[in-house]
C-alpha cells in the first residue's frame, strides 16, 4: 500500500482516537487497521494523547457525603448495617390477616366444642327419653310421682331389670359452681351417689337415667340435693325432692 493510499485513513485516526469519528467512517477505518501495522502504530500514539486528556483536569473534591453514601452501597458494608424493621403496607395487611385468621380459628374451635357439648347432652337426653319410653312399655315398670316445691315429675322403676329413670319438670337452673346430685337412699338412711345432672335451658322437662352397680331393691328411695360443682361424697346442700318406693 502506498503512502497516498493511507492518507484518507490516517486523516481519520485522530478523530477515531478521540471517539469523534462519524459512524459511517468507523467501519472502513477499523477494517484498514486490521491489515495495516503502521496505521495501528499511529493510532496507538494518538490513543496515548487522548488518554492524557483524561489526566489533564485539575482535581475536584466531591462532597464528603459521597464517601458515606458509597460505603452504604457496598455489599460488604450492607452486611454490617443493622437490620431495620421495614413494615410495608402489604406486610401489615398480611399480619392483620394472619391475626384475624387465628382469632377466627380459635372462635371456630370454641364454637365446635360448645356444639359438641350440646350434642352430647342432647344425645344423653335422647337416650334417657328412649330409656323412659322403653320402661313405660314394660308391665313391670312402676311410676312414683314426684311433687316438691319447685319440681314435679315421676320416677320410673323397673326392679326386675334394675333400671330407673327420673322425669322432672320445672327443675330450676343452678349456678355455674353448683350441680344437682341424685342419691340412692338405703333403709338405714345412708346415701349412695347415683349421678349428677344439670337442667337444660329452654327445656320444659328433662329425664335422667339412674345407673347403679347395686340392686335398686336394696334401697328404699331416691333423693336429689344441690351440691358444689363436681358433686359430693354425701349430701351437703338443700334437698330438692325425695321419692320413696
Amino acid at each position: 500500500m502506498t503512502y497516498y493510499e493511507h492518507v484518507p485513513f490516517r486523516e481519520n485516526i485522530p478523530a477515531y482516537a478521540l471517539g469523534a469519528l462519524d459512524a459511517e467512517d468507523v467501519g472502513a477505518l477499523e477494517a484498514h487497521l486490521q491489515t495495516c501495522a503502521s496505521c495501528r502504530d499511529e493510532l496507538a500514539a494518538y490513543r496515548a494523547a487522548s488518554d492524557n486528556l483524561l489526566m489533564a483536569l485539575p482535581p475536584q473534591k466531591p462532597s464528603a457525603a459521597l464517601r458515606q453514601r458509597l460505603q452504604r452501597r457496598l455489599p460488604g458494608a450492607q452486611k454490617t448495617v443493622r437490620p431495620r424493621l421495614n413494615w410495608s403496607i402489604g406486610r401489615v395487611a398480611v399480619g392483620i390477616a394472619i391475626v384475624l385468621l387465628l382469632a377466627l380459628n380459635v372462635f371456630s374451635i370454641s364454637q365446635v366444642r360448645a356444639l359438641q357439648r350440646q350434642q352430647t347432652q342432647l344425645m344423653d337426653q335422647m337416650q334417657n327419653g328412649q330409656a323412659a319410653l322403653a320402661m313405660l312399655s314394660y308391665s313391670n315398670t312402676q311410676a312414683f310421682p314426684i311433687n316438691a316445691e319447685n319440681v314435679t315429675g315421676s320416677l320410673l322403676l323397673d326392679k326386675e331389670y334394675n333400671n330407673a329413670v327420673l322425669i322432672l319438670r320445672g327443675l330450676p337452673p343452678v349456678n355455674d359452681d353448683q350441680t344437682y346430685q341424685v342419691w340412692l337412699i338405703a333403709p338405714n338412711g345412708e346415701r349412695t351417689n347415683a349421678g349428677l345432672l344439670r337442667p337444660q335451658i329452654d327445656q320444659p322437662f328433662m329425664s335422667q337415667a339412674i345407673y347403679s352397680t347395686q340392686d335398686l331393691v336394696n334401697f328404699v328411695g331416691i333423693g336429689m340435693t344441690v351440691e358444689p360443682a363436681g358433686g359430693s361424697d354425701h349430701p351437703t346442700g338443700p334437698q330438692v325432692f325425695r321419692v320413696d318406693y
Binding site: 486523516e11 485522530p14 478523530a15 482516537a17 478521540l18 471517539g19 469523534a20 469519528l21 462519524d22 459512524a23 500514539a45 494518538y46 496515548a48 494523547a49 487522548s50 488518554d51 492524557n52 486528556l53 483524561l54 489526566m55 489533564a56 483536569l57 485539575p58 482535581p59 475536584q60 473534591k61 466531591p62 462532597s63 459521597l66 464517601r67 453514601r69 458509597l70 460505603q71 452501597r73 457496598l74 455489599p75 460488604g76 458494608a77
Partner: protein, 181 residues
C-alpha cells in the same frame, strides 16, 4: 501512590476488602470527580456518576489488568464512558454559554502542592491550555462532550472540513507536546 501499591490494593478490593477500596477512593476520587464534573457540568449528577464509577471498581476489580495501564487511567476511562452515557441519556447538548465556555475552563488552575502526581496533571493541563481557542474547542466537544465531527460542525456552525482539520491539528499538537515530555 506507586502503581505496585495500586495493584495490591485492587487485588484486595477484588476479595471484598472495604478498607483497600476506601484507600483507592481517597486517592483518586478527586481526579475521577474532576472528569465527571467536566463532562456533565452539574455537581449532583457528577457525584452520581463518580459514585457509579467507584461501584464499578468494587464489582469489577478482578477485571483490572495492570499491564494495560495504570489504575487511574482505568478508572478515568470508566468514568468518561459512564458520564457520556449519562449525558446521552439526558439527551443534552453542550451549552456554549459563558459558564460552560471550554476555553475558560482550561484557564482555571487551583493552587498546587508540588507533588509528583500533581506535576503530572499540571503538565498535561498546560499542554491543552497552550492550544489555540479553536483547537481547544474541538477537543473539548469531541472528548469531553462525546460529539462526533459532524455534530461539532453543527454545534459550532463550521464546515465539516474545518472541524476535521482543526481536530487533526489539535491532536497532532498534543501528541508532539506530550511526546516531548
Amino acid at each position: 501512590m506507586p502503581e505496585i501499591d495500586d495493584n495490591q490494593l485492587v487485588k484486595r478490593v477484588a476479595q471484598g476488602d472495604e478498607r483497600a477500596f476506601l484507600t483507592l477512593y481517597d486517592c483518586y476520587v478527586s481526579r475521577v470527580h474532576a472528569l465527571t464534573l467536566r463532562i456533565l457540568g452539574e455537581p449532583m449528577m457528577a457525584e452520581e456518576v463518580t459514585q457509579d464509577t467507584f461501584l464499578k471498581l468494587w464489582s469489577r476489580a478482578h477485571m483490572y489488568l495492570a499491564e494495560r495501564g495504570s489504575l487511574l487511567l482505568w478508572l478515568l476511562t470508566i468514568a468518561r464512558r459512564t458520564a457520556l452515557d449519562r449525558l446521552r441519556l439526558e439527551t443534552r447538548r453542550p451549552i456554549l454559554s459563558d459558564s460552560n465556555d471550554p476555553t475558560e475552563a482550561w484557564e482555571i488552575i487551583p493552587d498546587g502542592n508540588g507533588l509528583p502526581e500533581e506535576n503530572r496533571w499540571r503538565s498535561m493541563h498546560f499542554a491543552v491550555q497552550s492550544l489555540s481557542p479553536e483547537h481547544r474547542q474541538v477537543i473539548e466537544l469531541a472528548y469531553y462532550q462525546g460529539l462526533s465531527q459532524s455534530e461539532i460542525a453543527e454545534v459550532l456552525g463550521w464546515p465539516i472540513g474545518t472541524v476535521k482539520t482543526r481536530l487533526h491539528a489539535a491532536m497532532e499538537r498534543l501528541r508532539q507536546e506530550w511526546g516531548a515530555r
